[in-house]
């Protein structure tokens, strides 16, 4: 029983990473109808920046804060420079451009920092937290806490601030927003910035677990796809719930179902994607009534 609880908490920890990356995907998909295949690579790149800052002697948490600001600027810049010129192109062009971004960022990280796996300093102490006789790793609990705080802040931003409202309006009703004087183009760019920040948080949190290398996010992005599809690709709440469910489910399947084990976890995610898309393409939260942020 204790082991089961531990596995669930551990699943929630990885699940909150999937949830964050899935949320980043959903933010961009809702605004522009683009699946950003480079989302994971953007997160990976930010994580390298954080690692580099720590290497320069910046205190860990300060380095994380600085990285989030850099990630935001990077996300905005990518939208302005790379995405905006092809914004109105067909779906195939958009897919290829985001794959180009994927390849370029992956190569750039390899060029700057090399392909040798690095082990970044864990932001949380390697101790255990004992609750009711069950020991949880501080890292898992920390990942869950940081992710939930990030997701909460994002949600507050969209619900309670004028800028958040303007961004939602720009995403859902671009024409009307333009008439009302909202600068739709910049709102979309801000959306990319925010998505980059959410992704960067996930990258920094998961790096001590999966270790830092240019390919660290490549399976995580598939889990994030699965989470986004499971929750409904237009629903931010769906992305978060989908991520948490997926994290726990994959962890339990991998641990207790021998046929799946470690190697077929990705295949399980693939099966979930296909199953959801075939049976219920709108996902768990895909109903129009809950589509708003």
């Amino acid at each position: 029983m204790h082991e089961l609880t531990q596995q669930i908490v551990s699943g929630l920890a990885t699940g909150s990473i999937y949830a964050s990356v899935a949320l980043a995907l959903v933010l961009i998909y809702r605004a522009m109808g683009i699946i950003n295949f480079a989302q994971g690579e953007m997160a990976m790149f930010s994580t390298y920046i954080a690692w580099q800052l720590v290497q320069f002697g910046v205190p860990v948490w300060l380095a994380f804060g600085a990285t989030l600001i850099i990630a935001f600027a990077g996300g905005v810049a990518i939208e302005r420079i790379v995405i905006r010129p092809v914004e109105r192109a067909n779906q195939l062009t958009l897919v290829i451009v985001s794959l180009g971004l994927f390849i370029a960022l992956n190569g750039l990280a390899g060029w700057i920092w090399g392909y040798i796996v690095k082990s970044p300093p864990p932001p949380f102490p390697p101790t255990a937290i004992t609750v009711g006789g069950v020991a949880f790793s501080a890292q898992d609990v920390g990942i869950i806490a940081v992710s939930l705080v990030t997701l909460g802040l994002i949600s507050l931003f969209f619900q309670k601030t004028k800028l958040g409202l303007a961004m939602r309006a720009a995403a859902l009703y671009p024409e009307q927003s333009r008439v009302l004087g909202i600068r739709v183009g910049w709102m979309l760019a801000l959306g990319w910035g925010l998505a980059a920040v959410v992704g960067a948080t996930a990258g920094i949190m998961i790096a001590p677990v999966v270790f830092l290398d240019p390919n660290m996010m490549q399976s995580i992005i598939v889990y994030a796809f699965a989470a986004a599809v499971l929750g409904g690709i237009e629903s931010p709440i769906g992305a978060v719930v989908g991520g948490l469910i997926l994290g726990v489910a994959i962890n339990l399947l991998g641990t207790y179902v021998e046929a799946i084990g470690n190697e077929l976890r990705l295949a399980a995610a693939l099966a979930i994607i296909v199953l959801v898309l075939v049976v219920r393409p709108s996902g768990l939260f895909g109903k129009p009534s809950v589509q708003r942020v």
Binding site: M32, G33, I35, F37, V82, P85, V86, A89, N90, Q91, L92, T93, V95, I96, V97, L99, G100, L101, F102, I103, A104, L105, N106, G107, L108, G110, W111, L172, Q218, S219, I221, V222, F225, A226, V229, I233, E234, G261, E263, L264, R265, L266, A267, A269, L270, I273, V274, L277, V278, P281
Partner: protein, 346 residues
């Protein structure tokens, strides 16, 4: 012969002659590269049919190449089958698997299919690693090098080169015959105006699934010729980067015409080498940036760019350079790629 215009016929003959003499004028390592060009061209041809004509984006055709490569490898390794006998089996296996995936793909519109097939591509190596007893697991399988049949005065490399290009020629010919007729007309109708096509009695399920199956057959054959030259298969041979490479090749070459498949094969084999020379430290940065720039400035790929160039030079429009009888090959607005994959916004 297959209804090609005279100009297109001449181009086909010139290219065929060039392919025939190339191994005698280029260095041996380039001949080796050109075998891979044939493999890529066959696989990309599948994507030209699937994505360009059928409107379905696949980021997972590396999975079919993996299946094709591994079928040939396992038959050769475990059962001692010669390669020439393994290739048709690989084609059949991939066709069956492709029909199955094609049935599922019917339910996945536009970008959802891209997302699902991307995941298939990422998951493929883990399948190969998991079923160790068949696939040799992580380390893969070493195979016998190619032997030249008695009586043919060629070294193994040139023999394999001609075999690969003969198969590629066959693949292009059969594909041209297929898309020339009723099948191709139905696909184009379904892509450009699904409602009208269906009301004229075109069954979308049958044609779209068959197109997926045929593109998988091509990818499977390509996978076999991707594995045989190195006489080695491993999960890393068919990494998800391969799947992405195929779609990139199709788009860079020109996804609207068969010529695009050939050009795409050349591009994906040699562009990384060029990128290496531009920036030895980070070839993939050059590759990725080049890809984005091409999409911004020449979204119809090399074949599309060449047609535009020819039009500007020639006084009257050049005939379509492909086996594609409709004007789509030369002048389709890119938006025409289909109901399924345009504008998913709410």
């Amino acid at each position: 012969m297959i209804g090609l215009s005279r100009g297109a016929m001449i181009r086909v003959c010139v290219v065929a002659a060039l392919i025939a003499v190339l191994p005698w004028i280029v260095p041996s390592f380039v001949v080796f590269d050109l075998i891979f060009v044939a493999a890529y061209a066959i696989a990309i041809l599948g994507l030209v049919i699937l994505t360009g004509m059928n409107g379905q984006i696949s980021l997972g055709h590396g999975a079919f190449m993996a299946l094709g490569g591994y079928v040939v490898a396992v038959l050769a390794h475990a059962a001692g089958w010669p390669y020439w006998a393994g290739v048709p089996i690989a084609a059949l296996a991939c066709g069956a698997f492709g029909l199955l995936i094609g049935l599922v793909a019917l339910r996945l519109a536009g970008v959802y299919l891209a997302l699902a097939t991307f995941s298939l591509a990422v998951a493929t190596p883990s399948f190969l690693k998991h079923y160790k007893s068949i696939t040799g697991g992580f380390g893969g399988m070493s195979l016998q090098p190619v032997t030249v049949p008695a009586g043919i005065p060629l070294d193994p490399q040139r023999w394999l080169y001609y075999a690969a290009w003969a198969v590629a020629g066959l693949a292009f010919l059969v594909s041209a015959l297929i898309v020339r007729g009723k099948f191709g007309r139905a696909l184009r109708a379904l892509r450009d105006n699904p409602v009208a096509a269906v009301s004229f009695g075109v069954n979308p399920y049958v044609y779209k699934t068959l197109a997926f199956g045929w593109s998988a057959v091509l990818a499977g054959v390509a996978g076999a010729f991707y594995a045989i030259p190195t006489a080695f298969v491993s999960p890393d041979t068919f990494s998800f980067a391969l799947s992405i490479t195929l779609l990139i090749g199709a788009v860079l070459g020109g996804i609207w015409t068969f010529w695009g498949a050939l050009l795409g094969g050349v591009v994906v084999e040699f562009l990384p080498l060029v990128a290496q020379q531009v920036n030895a430290g980070a070839p993939s940065v050059v590759y990725g940036v080049a890809l984005i720039l091409v999409m911004m400035f020449v979204p119809d790929g090399i074949a599309g760019g060449l047609v535009q160039l020819a039009r500007r030079i020639a006084p009257r429009p050049a005939p379509p350079p492909s086996a594609e009888p409709s004007p789509i090959a030369t002048s389709a607005p890119l938006g025409a790629i289909g109901g399924g994959i345009s504008d998913p916004k709410p």
